[in-house]
């Protein structure tokens, strides 16, 4: 896992310096994030925010990327023109953790592994869907964690965390997810 991550990083660096030539060289990396971008869109579809979250009916859904952006332009491209309940998407690359509060979805990049607890703590109790790609992200208080297994992308959901964030996750989403719990929490719920 780690060499792959390294490889991705290198690839991004290379892609930055050599443009699309590098992208073509490693398509499996971009295809993984293409899938992940699609997943993020799907999550937006199957999660319900509290009614007062948005100022206006057509206020955009703001997605913030915390840490190094692994998507490049992929996420912007996938979400371009897409709407959920009449809302468009707005992708922001966050400079500081304080900007988290303006977002509705936060993608925690693997580069933030060290500051994970801090970030989770910051958004705790706020209606913000946290998505990570760090092993144990959900167990540590994140709501959805994307996992790559057998070259396929799966996801884990921390139902308790979602409840705390006052987010209503559709049962259909839950039916596809692996439900995880924080070790400190007592009891297990799957609703």
């Amino acid at each position: 896992m780690r060499p792959l991550r390294l490889l991705i990083t290198i690839a991004i660096v290379i892609s930055l310096s050599f443009g699309f030539e590098a992208q073509a060289q490693d398509s499996s990396v971009s295809s993984e994030y293409l899938i992940k971008a699609g997943f993020i869109y799907n999550f937006a579809n199957l999660v319900q925010w509290p009614s007062n979250t948005f100022a206006q009916p057509n206020s955009p859904i703001v997605i913030g990327i915390l840490g190094e952006d692994p998507f490049g332009t992929i996420l912007d491209r996938v979400l371009e023109g897409k709407k959920v309940n009449g809302r468009v998407f707005l992708v922001k690359r966050l400079k500081s953790a304080l900007d988290l509060k303006e977002c509705h979805i936060v993608f925690v990049s693997s580069s933030e592994m060290a500051h994970l607890a801090e970030a989770i703590h910051l958004v705790k109790g706020m209606p913000i869907l946290t998505i990570g790609e760090i092993p144990g992200f959900a167990k540590r208080g994140g709501i959805i964690n994307l996992v790559l297994e057998d070259n396929k992308v799966h996801f884990e959901v921390n139902v308790e965390a979602a409840k705390e964030a006052d987010l209503n996750i559709s049962s259909r989403l839950l039916a596809l997810a692996r439900i995880v719990q924080e070790p400190a929490a007592d009891g297990r719920k799957t609703e």
Binding site: F39, N42, N45, L46, N85, S170, R172, L173, A175, L176
Partner: protein, 694 residues
């Protein structure tokens, strides 16, 4: 037994049952159809709802491309037994997840079209297409296929129930109708029984009983009325029949009586005819016998008269003249009687020849001149221009005119007598008309009736006053008839009479006319009697009756006929006369016809003459082998013979006839003809004497 021949009872039951069953079947069928249609709609709705649920449940799995999750969702359909297949298609049309009942895998089974929404019935399957969406975004299509097993189960159950009910209701209808039909069939059966009883026993006193006042009731009334009518008629008919039988019996008796009378009459007629014939024969014989001595009397009295004149004994001359005159008168009477008896016996023959009418009239006038002068009468003869030659028996024509003119002279004193002759055409025939008019005593209407009867003078007193036998007009009449002519009279007593005679300008010969004398086989004599312008047919037959019949028939056809009784003579005669045709018998006493036929065909001169075999021997093949033209079996079919002869006449060139008829000369006169001539001249002289006597 056909449906129409069933009894009324069965028909009624059948009709009731059929009607109720048909009604029941129709109503249950309509209900079944309605129910099945609505049930189908229900099924469709059900399946659509199911598709919505499955689509909703699998939307997320589709969104996350989570195939196992989608497959698991579809697998939930296992509890629905009727679902055969469920398939999820991704938007690009590829199969994403699928479920098959009993794990059937049919790769070609699934339809390619995945974009269309809705449902359809495909064979016995119901198929539903449903869009899978997530928040309005199209994620794919769900396809569900159901085999509608509930539907067919329901249909089967329904049909079974219907059948059971139809059977039960049919049975009930049978029970009810077999009770109710008696209302209609009962009276009809009763009527039928009554009818059978009437026709079997012929008892017209039986009456049918009327049960209801419906149509059958009035039928029974009508039947009863008819029965009583028949009863009345029967009685009347029986009476009439009895009467008729009595009458018939009476009639039969009368008929048998009449028949008997008729037979007696016929017998009497035969007897009378026989007697008459005998009398005629006797008269003919007697006349011949009487003529012989009379010839001697007249002859010798003439001789004596000449001698007496020479010796100058006048008294003797006068006496002898009286003897001679009386003798001639007697001879004339005998000749008349002979003529008449010949006619009566059918032996009078015609000898036709062509002669000049003017010459004949002149001859008669010359002969009768003394008679005309006797009563100081004036004679005027008028001959029309167109009258020239005529063909008839000149002797008889002469005698007719002679009789009429001598009568006119006899009954006219100091008066005028005229003879008018002219020619006319009636009914396609040329007629010569002789009209003899006088201004004499005339004949009353009553007398005119019997004028042409034998032995009937106008008045018995006339015989005393004028003399005569009363046979003259009768013979005249018969002669005219013989030549197919007619005679008429117009007269006023005291003013005179006019006799008119019509005779055909060309008298034709009837069979009776010129038969060759029976048994006369002398060729030259026979030939003498033949007419020059006719073809000749030779008949060779040993049977006299056949010869007679053949010659009569062939003469009618316009031929001269020669008959010979044996073959050798036939051969000789054939060479002599060259007939146009020969008829030949086979079985003859002195020779057989086959050898004669061979000889005829071997002769170079005769081989071309057609020979018709006329025989009782049935051997046509032999006849044709030997060269016969035709073969007729006796008794001969005359029409057939006529056709055959006509055929030969047409096919034969006329050369022979031409050579025969070339000279217009008359055939040599026969001995017989001479005799007749002699008789006629005798008669003329007799008339002369008769008139001069007075």
């Amino acid at each position: 037994m056909s449906l129409q021949d069933l009894s009324i009872r069965r028909k009624l039951i059948l009709i009731t049952m059929l009607t109720s069953s048909v009604a029941l079947l129709l109503s249950s069928a309509s209900f079944l159809i309605y129910d099945l249609i609505s049930f189908r709609q229900l099924l469709t709705q059900d399946l659509t709802t199911q598709a919505e649920i499955i689509g909703y449940n699998s939307a997320a799995a589709m969104a996350f491309k989570d195939e196992p999750a989608a497959t698991a969702t579809l697998s939930a359909l296992k509890v629905k037994g009727d679902i055969v297949a469920a398939v999820l298609y991704s938007p690009d049309g590829k199969m994403f997840a699928r479920y098959f009942r009993n794990d059937e895998t049919l790769p070609t089974f699934l339809p390619a079209r995945s974009q269309e929404k809705g449902y359809r019935f495909e064979g016995r399957y119901l198929e539903v297409w449903h869009d899978v969406t997530l928040n309005g975004e199209h994620l794919g299509t769900l396809f569900l296929q159901s085999d509608m097993r509930q539907w067919s189960t329901r249909a089967k159950r329904y049909a079974t129930i219907c059948l059971v009910f139809v059977l039960i209701s049919g049975f009930l209808a049978y029970l009810v109708s077999s009770k109710l039909q008696k209302v209609i069939s009962g009276p009809i059966v009763h009527l039928e029984d009554t009818m059978r009883m009437v026709s079997a026993n012929k008892n017209y006193e039986v009456r049918a009983v009327k049960s209801y006042a419906d149509e059958i009731g009035s039928l029974i009334d009508g039947f009863n009325t008819m029965l009583s009518d028949i009863q009345h008629r029967d009685t009347a008919l029986r009476g009439a029949n009895d009467e008729l039988q009595t009458r018939t019996r009476e009639l039969e008796e009368e008929i048998s009586q009449r028949k008997q009378a008729q037979e007696e009459l016929l017998k009497a007629k035969y007897v009378a005819e026989e007697a008459s014939r005998a009398k005629s024969t006797f008269l003919a014989n007697m006349s011949h016998e009487l003529r012989t001595p009379l010839n001697a009397i007249i002859g010798y009295s003439e001789m004596l008269e000449e001698e007496a004149q020479d010796s100058g004994t006048d008294t003797n001359v006068q006496d002898l003249q009286k003897i001679k005159s009386a003798g001639k008168h007697l001879l004339a009477l005998i000749n008349d009687v002979l003529d008449l008896s010949k006619i009566e016996a059918g032996k009078m023959s015609l000898h036709l020849e062509t002669f000049d009418v003017a010459g004949m009239i002149e001859e008669i006038v010359t002969t009768l001149q003394p008679a005309i002068n006797k009563n100081s009468n004036a004679l005027r003869v008028h001959l029309a221009d167109q009258v020239g030659m005529m063909r008839a028996d000149i002797t008889k024509v002469r005698q007719i005119l002679f009789n009429l003119l001598s009568n006119a002279c006899k009954f006219t004193d100091h008066g005028n007598i005229s003879v008018d002759v002219d020619q006319s055409t009636e009914e396609g025939l040329d007629w010569v008309r002789f009209r003899v008019t006088d201004t004499g005593i005339g004949i009353s209407t009553k007398q005119q009736k019997n004028l042409f009867q034998e032995f009937a003078q106008a008045d018995t007193s006339i015989a005393r006053k004028y003399g005569g036998t009363g046979l003259g007009l009768a013979i005249t009449h018969r002669f005219v008839q013989l030549m197919k002519g007619r005679i008429g009279v117009e007269s006023q007593p005291g003013e005179g009479s006019a006799f008119t005679v019509h005779i055909p300008a060309q008298v034709t010969l009837e069979a009776v006319g010129s038969l060759p004398a029976e048994g006369n086989s002398d060729a030259s004599d026979v030939i003498a009697d033949m007419q020059a312008d006719r073809d000749t047919i030779l008949v060779i037959d040993d049977d006299a009756a056949v010869r007679e019949l053949m010659s009569r028939f062939l003469m009618k056809l316009g031929f001269n006929v020669l008959t010979v009784p044996n073959g050798e003579e036939g051969l000789r005669l054939a060479k002599q006369v060259r007939p146009v045709l020969i008829t030949l018998d086979v079985v003859m006493p002195d020779c057989d016809g086959w050898s004669i036929l061979s000889k005829l065909k071997a002769d170079s001169e005769l081989s071309k003459v057609p020979v018709i075999m006329v025989t009782i021997v049935d051997n046509e093949a032999k006849g044709f082998d030997l060269g016969a033209s035709n073969y007729l079996i006796k008794p001969v079919d005359r029409e057939r013979l006529a056709v055959l002869i006509e055929k030969h006449r047409i096919s034969r060139p006329r050369a022979i006839t031409a050579s025969n008829t070339a000279p217009k000369s008359r055939p040599p006169r026969a001995q017989k003809r001479g005799e007749v001539e002699a008789e006629a001249s005798e008669r003329f002289s007799h008339a002369e004497n008769l008139t001069s006597r007075r």
